[in-house]
């Protein structure tokens, strides 16, 4: 993982977060409405979670938000990448995203076009108790707009919120130009 830079001169993240706080995100985790469990890798991961005690556990929960038009394009131009996709996640206080790697149904298509690069950006102002763990590193009180490139697009990670306000993260995948 490496710090690419601060993106606050590209996007007004505070304004975006303010809008997100007025929206209802798509519920993910234990109460997830759509079925992604047909994927064998997801099934295997879920078994690991169940074995760890996460079964039927309401602690597993996060929200997904659509990224406003232009954000992915502007950030991708800044990073000099061809975007695959971007999404925003939010973990409310008291919920978590257990240790996992990202699994997608179109993995073969993605890999057929190149090696994906994965990024995360801390889009809200630093809030005590909001933690994102990527590999060996735990992010806490990160400066708003800090943009990190992962060592591997399927690196293991997890999210927690033991603070008092929702935690937001912008996620991006793309190909190097």
């Amino acid at each position: 993982m490496k710090l690419i830079g601060n993106s606050s001169h590209i996007i007004d993240w505070s304004a975006l977060v303010a809008v997100l706080k007025t929206q209802t995100g798509r519920s993910r985790g234990s109460k997830q409405e759509d079925d992604i469990h047909h994927n064998p890798k997801v099934a295997e991961l879920r078994k690991t979670w169940i074995d760890a005690g996460y079964e039927d556990d309401e602690s597993v929960g996060w929200l997904d938000y659509d990224v406003p038009t232009g954000v992915v394009e502007n950030i991708s131009n800044w990073l000099n990448i061809t975007p695959i996709g971007g999404w925003i996640t939010s973990v409310p206080p008291g919920y978590c995203v257990p240790w996992h790697y990202d699994i997608t149904d179109d993995e073969e298509d993605i890999l057929a076009k190149g090696t994906p690069i994965r990024f995360t950006c801390h889009i809200d102002k630093p809030q005590w108790g909001q933690v994102f763990v990527l590999g060996d590193h735990a992010f806490h009180m990160e400066e708003q707009g800090n943009f990190y490139q992962w060592a591997d697009w399927q690196e293991w990670h997890g999210g927690m919120n033991m603070g008092l306000t929702p935690k937001f993260l912008f996620n991006l995948m793309g190909y190097a130009k």
């Binding site: 690991t48 979670w49 074995d51 760890a52 005690g53 996460y54 556990d57 309401e58 602690s59 597993v60 409310p92 206080p93 008291g94 919920y95 978590c96 995203v97 257990p98 240790w99 005590w128 108790g129 933690v131 763990v133 590999g135 060996d136 590193h137 735990a138 806490h140 293991w156 997890g158 999210g159 927690m160 919120n161 033991m162 603070g163 008092l164 306000t165």
Partner: protein
């Protein structure tokens, strides 16, 4: 304020302590659990903060405490007193299961005045287990993740705000010690 690294305490067999506790039930602490008296409202600030943030609805506030003499051998306390040159006022081991939290709080004790009457209080934590990715303790400006087994830290003050969480696959253990300076 940051916590101060004291050293790695090798006089205690931390792995044996953790192995012993893995099979024991302990005393569960949850939101609304009746484990304190709060006769003068000293817990009200933390309870109010948690309610405002939604922890009363999440159902994920939980830590499990183990006490010397009840759940583990008190000889551990004697050894830690010697290591820190303090007298124990209170000590316990806490466990946070995967998906559970001890959210933002400071430790409030119904008997704090009694402890303070005996001298200056100093708070330590030690990391007794082999840390897993996703097991986190935060004490004011210090975050602890993948700490070496046996590492001991002194807190900025005994009422420092802190929190613990676990998004790993294994329980997270912490040795907690409130000492009186000699």
């Amino acid at each position: 304020m940051k916590a101060t690294f004291i050293g790695n305490c090798k006089t205690i067999d931390w792995q044996s302590l953790v192995n012993d506790l893995l099979t024991k039930e302990g005393d569960a602490r949850t939101f609304g659990g009746n484990f304190y008296h709060n006769t003068d409202g000293r817990f009200d600030e933390v309870i109010s903060l948690w309610k405002t943030a939604g922890y009363d609805k999440s159902g994920t506030v939980e830590w499990i405490n183990y006490y010397p003499g009840k759940h583990f051998d008190s000889s551990v306390i004697k050894l830690f007193e010697e290591y820190t040159n303090t007298t124990c006022a209170r000590a316990w081991v806490s466990k946070i299961r995967p998906g559970r939290y001890a959210p933002y709080h400071m430790d409030i004790d119904d008997d704090e005045e009694l402890y303070l009457s005996k001298g200056e209080l100093v708070r330590y934590t030690a990391h007794p287990g082999i840390s897993e990715r996703g097991q986190v303790l935060i004490v004011e400006d210090s975050l602890f993740h993948l700490e070496e087994q046996g590492n001991v830290y002194m807190w900025p003050n005994h009422r420092a705000w802190h929190a613990g969480g676990n998004c790993s696959f294994k329980p997270k253990f912490l040795f907690n010690f409130l000492g009186i300076k000699k």
